[in-house]
């Protein structure tokens, strides 16, 4: 079965990113296809590479990044939400005249249409949020 997953909250503050990560892992183990994971609202903060939580805590952003790279997942950060919250990739930072970017490997930034397309193309669309 083909899934699109939407995540509306950032890491740590709410459990939604944790739950979605476990859900996606379980779906992959069962042989389902993850068509897309769409990060919206504060969910875009799951895509930063600048996090260094305490050594005994999980590093959620890296877990998403590694899972994405391992399974070739399409991890999409909403550009409008990212711009409000300061999540940038290199080309977008350059376009905006910013001196730094902070996106982690394995994520890409794109538009809201990607979410709707995910809903159309997938058998199931599951929302995680607050």
């Amino acid at each position: 079965m083909k899934y699109t997953v939407m995540i509306n909250e950032g890491p740590y503050q709410h459990q939604s990113s944790d739950t979605a990560l476990q859900f996606v892992r379980a779906a992959l183990e069962k042989g389902h296809e993850i068509f897309r994971v769409f990060f919206y609202h504060d969910g875009v903060n799951n895509g930063t590479r600048l996090s260094v939580p305490p050594a005994d805590d999980r590093l959620l952003q890296k877990e998403w990044s590694e899972l994405g790279l391992e399974h070739g997942l399409d991890l999409v950060i909403c550009i409008a939400a990212a711009q409000r919250r300061g999540l940038m990739d290199e080309s977008e930072a350059k376009r905006q005249g910013l001196d730094a970017d902070n996106i982690i490997e394995g994520f890409r930034i794109s538009g809201l249409g990607q979410l709707i397309e995910g809903g159309i193309q997938s058998d199931r669309t599951i929302v995680f949020g607050d």
């Binding site: 919206y40 609202h41 809201l112 979410l115 709707i116 397309e117 669309t125 949020g129």
Partner: protein, 134 residues
């Protein structure tokens, strides 16, 4: 692409959180995909479409006028729950006049707001194929 029944469920008041604004941004984008789109306003979501919103002093932009554009994008099914209005001391008179033009009826202007009971809302929700919650 296939046509699916999309529902956007709005349960939260505007301005206190960003969900109302960013939900509306998704809804407007969805218009480009020719899907069967409807919106549900339940619980505190009904405050999103009250008329007379004035955000002058709170520092946020007033985005309520953007709901008026929905009709132009053929998004004309805004289901508002009667029980949610009543609990909050509101009636349809407190909501914006949101309309669309029916091209099959000589472009007659019709209301996009459909007041439904909780039971009717549940039945409408049950028919959806993709439900996005904010």
């Amino acid at each position: 692409m296939a046509t699916k029944k999309f529902m956007f469920v709005n349960r939260k008041a505007p301005y206190g959180t960003v969900y109302a604004l960013e939900s509306l941004e998704v809804v407007l984008i969805s218009a480009a995909f020719d899907q069967d789109v409807s919106l549900a306003f339940i619980d505190d979501g009904v405050y999103q479409i009250t008329k007379g919103q004035d955000t002058t002093t709170i520092g946020q932009k007033n985005f309520s006028k953007a709901y008026k554009a929905l009709g132009d994008y053929d998004i004309s099914k805004l289901y508002v729950e009667k029980e949610s209005l009543a609990e909050r001391g509101l009636t349809q008179d407190d909501l914006m006049d949101l309309v669309w033009e029916d091209e099959d009826d000589d472009w007659a202007e019709k209301s996009s707001i459909i007041i439904v009971s909780r039971e009717e809302m549940a039945a409408i929700m049950a028919e959806q194929e993709v439900t996005l919650s904010f």
